[in-house]
Every structure is written in C-alpha cells, then in structure tokens.
Amino acid sequence: MRELLRHRLLWPVVVLVLLLLLNVIYNNGFLSIQVKDGHLYGNLIDILRFGAPLILVAIGMTLVIATGGIDLSVGSVVAIAGAMACLRISDLGDQGAVGGVLGAIGVALVLCLVLGAANGVLVAAIGVQPIVATLILMVAGRGLAQLITDGQIITVNSPPYKLFGGGYWLTLPFGIIVVAVVVVLTALLTRRLALGLLIESVGGNAEASRLVGIRSRGLTIMVYTFCALCAGIAGLIISSNVSSADGNNAGLWIELDAILAVVIGGTSLMGGRFSLTGTVLGALVIQTLTTTIYSIGVPPETTLLFKALVVTLVCLAQSPAFRAKVFHRRRRRPPAPAPSDEIDEKVSVAT
C-alpha cells in the first residue's frame, strides 16, 4: 500500500480516473465503445484520436526535458511540417498518388529533422540556453510556415494523405496507430537499451557524463532532432485531419500543452529522469480535461483557467520547497536548501 501511494504515476492516474468518473456522472454512456462500419466509435476513442498529436509532441518533449532542456519550437515545427507536406501534395499532378504523398511526407519530415538538429546544435555545440535557442525557431518558424504557405491556407484533396490523420486502419483511427508505434519504439529504444539511462545522465549532469565517456553533445543534438521529428509527425496528423495547412494557427499553444503533459506525468523540469508512461497519461489528462469541459457544458473559454489551475497545483505538488513548507511543520533544515544547492553545483561543474 505504501509502495502504491508513493508511486509517481499515482497522481496522473487518479486525476484521469476522476475526470472520467465526472464524465460518466454527466453522461452514463460515456465509456461505451461501438463498432460502426467496422470502425470503432466512442468518447474514449475520440480522446485518443484528438489527443494523438499532443501525445506525440509530449513524447519528444519528455526526452528533451530529461536532458534538462526545453523545446519551445514544437508548435512552429507542427505548422511547418503541415505546410510543407500540403505544399508538396498540392503541387502533385495526381493528389491521389501514394508515391507522391509519401514523398511529400518524407520531405516534410526531413525538414523537421534539419530544424531539430539546428536546435540541438545551438544548445549543445554553441551552448545557448535551451529556452532561448528554441525561442528563435518558435518566432522564426511561424514566419517560415507562413512563408511556405504564402500566408494562405493550403487545402489539399488527397485520399492517401487524408488517411494519415482522418482515416481508419484495422478498425482504429490511423493517428492512434501512429502514436502507438512511436510510443512503443521510443520505450523500447530508451528502456530496453542504455539510451534512456544515458539521456538521464546527461540531464543529471552534462559535464560529468562527458567525463565518464558519454557523448553528451551528440545525445543532446539527437533528442532535439527526435523532438522535432515527433512534432513533425504530429503536424502531419493535424493537417491531414483537416486536409489543409494553416501556417498561423496549426499547433498554436501545443508547446505549452506538451510541457504541461510532461510535468503532469511526473518528469522533473530539472532533467535527470523521465517517465514516458507518465507523459502519455499527462497528455490524456489534458485531452480528457478539454473533452470534459465541452461535454459537461462548462463554457469552453474556461479551458485555459483550468489548465492554469492544474499547472499550478501539479508544480506545487512537485516542488520540494512546497512540500517541506506545507507537509512538514517541523523545521527540518537539510531538506529545504538541498535542491538549490544541487542546482548550483550543477551550474558550477558545467562551466
């Protein structure tokens, strides 16, 4: 029991279950899943389907945050990927050609890889603070997306592309399958190989990891590239779902939702440890929250208020200082200053 109470995935699960319960109270059939025309339908499937891009972006963000970084540019990358793919497809003679569509998707993803690598190089090789390095692409990337679409909304009419975000495969929405593949692959690569451990060690102390022989620079560049790739795939799903690319609004605020999902999932913003399961749960909590707000009839405008509340509560719950002050009335000297000492040590060693 104690073990269970201290498990770090406990709180995201509790919140998710509470949200689902709330929905069931308002709508008894909320959990039911039906099969129509060989496709699965239901609120739970919808949550997964609309949450797919967020889960993808959050998975990439988790690894970046695990290295002690942050990537603010994912929203822009989402827009760029959609814009690039739609531009290439709209240039095709036959928009239904599978080869052409795959080519377009390939070009878009390669572009994302390049952008992500650029972020990584700025952070790892030039040594710019992650928040600033990715801020550049966040600002310029929106402009780039609008440049690609020429400020218009590009609409495409391509059945193969539509499948990516709006279609079904094996009774499931295709987006969910894409997400499942990415999540499983990431989990295998990071948890079955030493990769995850190495990433965590870079986040714990980049300089110390370098000294024990870990290529922390290469790893950092790799996670930023991976994050941009995830954002790119998410961008493809979003733009395919609506069969159009909007350089201005695609992926707007998704970086904040993704960071929120990661934080709710119990990954520390200081880096050094991460939980992919937690992140997926966190993203589902956010998507369920949005769905709940719509379904129980609270004005959707208040979504942001709820999110603000959730961020604050989750961060407070994770803050050692807050726990020390609120839960331990007895003044125990050592625990309180410990975190700040740790940070300082990290900074001084890294310089």
């Binding site: 603070q129 004005p299 900074v347």
Partner: protein, 338 residues
C-alpha cells in the same frame, strides 16, 4: 595579489568598457544602419515623424519591455506579459462600458497587474518553482480570465480615453507624439533612476549576477525577486492601458505573442538572459529595432507580414551568438532552463 590575478586585473583595466557596451553599441549601429538604408531606399522615410511613429506604435511594447528587463536582469523570465496586456484592455473596456469612471478603472487595472505579478513572484520565490513555468500558468490564467469576461471585442467610447488615444502632442513643425509615448518615457526615466541609482536597483543586478552571493552578502534576495515580478506585472498592466488607448478596445486576443516581442527587444538590447548585465537604454534600442523592422516592411509593401517574424528570429539568433562571443558571463550556460 597573485600574478594571475594581477594580469586579469590589468586586462580588465585595459578594456573595461567595450565588453560591457559592445551589445548596446552593436544595436545602436544596427539601428542607424537600418534607418540609413530606409532613408536611401525609400522617399519620405528619413523624416522625424517616422521615428516618432515608431514610438507611437510601440509605446506599449516599450513599457512592457522595461518590466521584462527588470525580470531578465535577475535571471528570470516573464511569459505572462502578453496575456496581462489583453486582460488589462478587457477589464478596462468592460468596466468603462459598464459606466465606471475611467481613472479609477485605470488605477484598479494597474493594481491588478501588480498583484498578479506579486503572486507569481511569491510562488517563484517561496516554492522554488521555475519562473518559466509559473509565468506560463499566469499566462493561461490571464488569457483564460479574458475569455471568461467576454469572448467578443469590447469597444471603448469614453471621451477621456478616446482623447488620450487620439490627441497629437505637437513637438515641432509637423512632428507629434501621442500621450502614450509621454507616459512610456516617464516610465522609462523612472525605471532608469530606480535601476541605476537606488539600492533596490543595484540589488536587481546583484541577484542576477549570483543569487547565492547576493544572499551571502545579506541582500534582500526574496524581496528583490518578488519586486521585479511585481514591476513586470505593473508594467504589463500599464502597457495594456496604453494598448487600450491605441486600439480603443478590449479583446481577449489582443497582444498575442507580445511576450516574445518583449523578450526579443530585451535580448537585442544587449541584456544577458542569464541575468546580471544589461541596460534599459539597450531595451529602448531593441524596441526601436523591432518597430523599425515593421516600418521598413510597411514601406517595402511587397514583403509580407511573416517576414517580420523571420527577421526578428534571425536578429535574435545573431544577438544571442554575439552574447556568447563577447559576453562577460556569456561563457556560462546553465544546463537548466531558467
């Protein structure tokens, strides 16, 4: 003193000023070059009114960037400014259209901004949560409150506000500024005085230089950190009021992304994002550079609005590289986002 120390001292003594002033000087050069290029390329560009118009259009951004400078000097960041602007325009417009007198409303809005900033500062300081995530929550909160108040745009028709928004204060033959510019300049002068000549101002630099050292020196670190977020909140609210003068409306989507403009202005103005180094004068130059980019793109006509973002991104990139190359403390990049 050891030989190494002596040599370092001598080196520092030989060229103490250039290093600190290089970013500001580069920005000044850039500004002059941009203005000259504009003057050569377009007719009617190199006039006084063009410069004044940059001030008129960006008075609100200047005020917000001043608040942001305080926060960044301590090594923090405030992402909530854009939302607080929107909230301020929304609250002002709604209360005024409900029949409140404009002056108490403005007072109330400024108080609200300051309190919001104080609240965020207190959470950052006492619960040791990163400024980035706390102000992110503040950003959601303020934008969310806007939507709760009203999802539509609210017009302001109060004669005093309209007068403040539309008055042309003459400065000479065919030269004018708006009252907002004068307010912004007053705020700027007050901020420069506070930052350079008061104990609190020096404390801001000390906290940004090294929080641990400042604490050991007995400086009021907690009070300083909470105060800078309060100042930033106040400045954002005032920026919102000026924005309301400028647009004569309150809308929940006002000033979307202004936090990025403000941060960009501060960085282009030469303030180190790690804190401890920077000048408000640089921030003014940064705001002018952003404004002038907009003006030049307007003059160009064929170039579209998104080029603004790309150019700002490139400039940010260039100036951050510059900071890395010449910054006294630019050699340090904390592994954690701050």
């Amino acid at each position: 003193m050891t030989t190494a120390g002596l040599r370092r001292g001598l080196l520092r003594g030989r060229r103490p000023l250039p290093r600190r002033y290089v970013p500001v000087l580069v920005t000044t050069g850039l500004l002059i070059a941009m203005f000259a290029a504009g003057g050569v390329r377009y007719e009617n560009f190199a006039t006084g009114q063009i410069v004044l118009n940059v001030f008129v259009d960006n008075a609100y951004l200047l005020v917000v960037a001043i608040g942001m400078t305080f926060v960044i000097l301590t090594g923090g960041i405030d992402l909530s400014v854009g939302s607080v602007i929107a909230l301020s325009t929304m609250v002002s417009a709604t209360l005024i259209s409900d029949g409140w007198a404009p002056l108490p409303v403005i007072g109330l809005v400024l108080l609200m901004g300051a309190l919001l900033g104080l609240g965020m500062g207190a959470i950052i300081q006492y619960f040791e949560i990163q400024p980035f995530i706390v102000t992110l929550a503040g950003m959601f909160l303020a934008r969310g409150l806007c939507y709760v108040i009203n999802t539509e745009s609210v017009k302001i028709t109060d004669p005093l506000i309209v007068a403040l928004g539309e008055t042309h204060v003459p400065l000479g033959p065919e030269l004018w500024v708006s009252p907002s510019v004068i307010i912004a300049l007053v705020v700027l002068l007050a901020a420069i005085y506070v930052l350079q000549y008061t104990r609190f101002g020096r404390g801001v630099y000390a906290v940004g230089g090294s929080e641990q050292s400042a604490l050991l020196m007995g400086l009021p670190v907690a009070r300083t950190k909470m105060a800078v977020y309060t100042i930033s909140g106040f400045c954002s609210a005032l920026g919102g009021v000026l924005f309301a003068f400028y647009t004569l409306s309150g809308w929940s989507l006002h000033a979307l992304g202004t936090e990025l403009d403000a941060i960009a202005a501060v960085v282009i103005g030469g303030t180190l994002l790690t804190g401890g180094y920077g000048y408000l004068f640089g921030t003014v130059l940064g705001v002018l550079v952003l404004g002038l980019i907009q003006t030049i793109l307007n003059f160009e006509g064929t170039l579209s609005a998104w080029w603004t973002k790309i150019v700002i991104g490139l400039l940010l990139f260039a100036f951050i590289l510059l900071q890395r190359l010449i910054g006294a403390r630019g050699g340090q990049a904390p592994p954690t986002p701050s």
